[in-house]
């Protein structure tokens, strides 16, 4: 999800800096003067915690792959949108400066894609309305609060990640970097980030419900309640929510990829290339796996060009088989190459 410098034109990079800068200026103004100082340590420690917490791998049951924490939602639930946004900026700046995760010029865009949506949209349009609502029960009902927290976390992560992914596509396209048509690019990015968002949402929900049980006063917009008697276990709640979100998410992604069997083919080709092991939702792996998926889709697009490009004289049936073969071979080759590149640049594992 971190944009790289190379994917932006100077104009888009500058515009995104301006947009994020404005949001930062408003946030600083909104932090009250006295609050600014007393909140600094908690903002810094929370930012540091997000940084460290994002390096933990959470195993996703049944898949053997792992997911990560969503910083924006967690920070705004803990600190409120303004302080949360500033803390997120700092996390992204450190990732960019010290780990080359994102780029110096892309920082403005990254702040917008990840921090702005996560903190402002996530807080004002999702977290606060849901926490203030009477959804699932009375405002101080213990179980209802838990459910609201889980719902807000999952929904928040899914929606803000979708917005972020959409912005990545928009920014890259506006920068004139990619030849991939806007629609196809969206069709690739959005479903993948739907899955990531769902998992990140669950992890965030798990952390926030834990905080709610232990110290509810730490959360924004949460009224501490008497511990309920028959409380729904996290497992049950997660199971219920998983089913609901899978249904909704599945529908959405089908809709998103209604564009000719692109995604299925891409994912299938991807699995075929032997990249299903640990491909899942680990974010840097995901960079790679989505690479494979995108490559595959790209090749699929190309194979559809093949009949009128390379095999002009051959009849369409032969063209399809040949193009199919070439396509598969190229997927395998590209995947191998990418794995190689990934392995080359990844930390050497020492026992």
């Amino acid at each position: 999800m971190h944009m790289a410098d190379a994917l932006l034109s100077p104009a888009v990079a500058t515009a995104m800096y301006a947009a994020s800068g404005t949001a930062a200026a408003i946030s600083i103004r909104r932090l009250k003067k006295d609050e600014e100082h007393s909140k600094l340590p908690v903002m810094a420690v929370s930012a540091a915690m997000i940084f460290a917490g994002q390096m933990i791998n959470y195993t996703i049951p049944g898949t053997g792959s792992s997911g990560h924490l969503c910083g924006g939602m967690l920070l705004s639930a803990l600190l409120g949108p303004y302080a949360g946004f500033l803390s997120m900026i700092v996390v992204l700046a450190i990732q960019c400066l010290f780990f080359a995760d994102g780029g110096l010029m892309a920082l403005g865009a990254n702040v917008w894609n990840m921090a702005f949506y996560g903190c402002f949209v996530g807080y004002f349009l999702i977290w606060r309305p849901i926490m203030r609502s009477r959804l699932f029960g009375a405002s101080d009902d213990h179980n209802a609060q838990r459910l609201r927290i889980i719902l807000a976390s999952v929904l928040g992560c899914v929606i803000t990640l979708q917005l972020g992914a959409f912005s990545v596509v928009l920014e890259t396209t506006l920068s004139g970097i990619t030849e991939l048509p806007f629609g196809a690019f969206c069709g690739l990015m959005l479903p993948i980030h739907l899955a990531i968002g769902f998992v990140e949402g669950l992890i965030t929900a798990a952390v926030l419900t834990f905080v709610y049980e232990a110290r509810p006063e730490l959360l924004q917009e949460v009224t501490p309640a008497e511990a309920g008697s028959g409380k729904l276990s996290l497992k049950q709640t997660v199971a219920i929510l998983a089913v609901v979100t899978c249904l909704v998410g599945g529908g959405l992604s089908l809709y998103a990829s209604s564009n000719p069997d692109g995604l299925e083919w891409a994912l299938f080709g991807n699995a075929e290339a032997g990249y299903n092991e640990n491909m899942g939702l680990d974010e840097d792996n995901f960079g790679v796996s989505s690479t494979a998926a995108e490559t595959a889709a790209g090749i699929q697009e190309t194979t559809s060009f093949l009949p009128d490009y390379a095999f002009k004289d051959s009849d369409s049936a032969a063209g399809t088989t040949v193009s199919g073969l070439v396509g598969s071979a190229m997927v395998a080759g590209a995947a191998a190459l990418i794995c190689l590149a990934g392995g080359f640049f990844r930390p050497k594992k020492t026992a």
Binding site: A48, I94, T291, T350
Partner: protein, 267 residues
């Protein structure tokens, strides 16, 4: 080494690089920051087919890495985040863009290939530049430059405070994660039953820590001011040097040095 220890190691490494001494290290940070930004913006502004002009920009990092004594390979190691992403986007270009740009014998090179290479080169160059900035300055000096650039003090202070506690909390996470995996040797990550409590525990402890830090500040008379070491402002000579380098960068953007060099040998 787990991911978090790796991160801690990289932090320390960056600090050590920044502690070295060279002409590039000694150059005042404010002009250095501005030059880095100018360089990256110029690199990004090259047209997607303008590979030959862009190639000249390689010379800047190569030269300054040599001058600073920072090993380029340390920087290439960091490419692992950026390059796959850039490749993912760039690799599609050859399939969509079939404009024939040039012919080398029987081989016709399409715009897609050129723009892919341009994109990757841009990614690499942008990273080498920002890496050099951080590796020869360190966070404290960069923050001093940010203050001079009138970045609000809340943000700069927050950056330094966060940087201070990232290592503290990362070490805690590292210990926790080792403790977890010692008792769950076959698990690759944290299992879902512990999703909430693992980070949740850290979160609660961190909130207590934040309170303790705030008390520590108040106990030493804190009333809103942080006093950091400021470096000497850049001298006119430094600014002149910076201006010359900047002019050279801009020159390379508008004058195709590569094709000029080529024309010396090939007619």
């Amino acid at each position: 080494m787990n991911k978090i220890d790796q991160a801690l190691y990289e932090f320390r490494e960056m600090d050590e690089l920044a502690d070295q001494d060279s002409l590039v290290h000694r150059f005042p940070v404010l002009p250095k920051v501005l030059l880095t930004i100018l360089y990256i913006l110029i690199v990004l502004s090259f047209h997607k087919y303008d590979l030959s002009s862009l190639s000249v920009m390689i010379l800047f990092p190569v030269f300054f890495y040599q001058l600073s004594g920072i090993p380029l390979r340390k920087c290439f190691y960091k490419l692992r985040f950026v390059l796959p992403l850039v490749m993912a986007v760039g690799i599609l270009n050859p399939f969509f863009d079939h404009t024939v740009i040039m012919k080398i014998g029987p081989l016709s090179v399409t715009g897609g290939w050129i723009s892919m290479l341009t994109l990757m080169l841009k990614g690499i160059l942008a990273l080498t530049a920002s890496f050099l900035l951080v590796a020869t300055s360190g966070i404290a000096r960069i923050c001093a430059a940010l203050r001079r650039m009138h970045v609000p003090s809340v943000l700069v202070t927050l950056l330094l405070l966060t940087y201070r506690y990232i290592t503290v909390l990362s070490e805690e996470v590292s210990v926790m994660s080792n403790a977890y995996h010692l008792r769950a040797p076959r698990q690759k990550g944290i299992e879902y039953s512990a999703w909430g409590s693992f980070l949740g525990q850290l979160l609660l402890r961190s909130m207590d820590r934040a309170e303790e830090i705030y008390q520590a500040m108040l106990l030493r008379g804190f009333h809103g001011h942080f006093h950091y070491v400021d470096e000497k402002p850049a001298s006119p000579k430094d600014w002149l040097t910076g201006l010359l380098i900047g002019a050279l960068i801009v020159f390379c953007r508008y004058y195709n040095v590569a094709s000029f060099l080529g024309s010396l040998f090939v007619r």
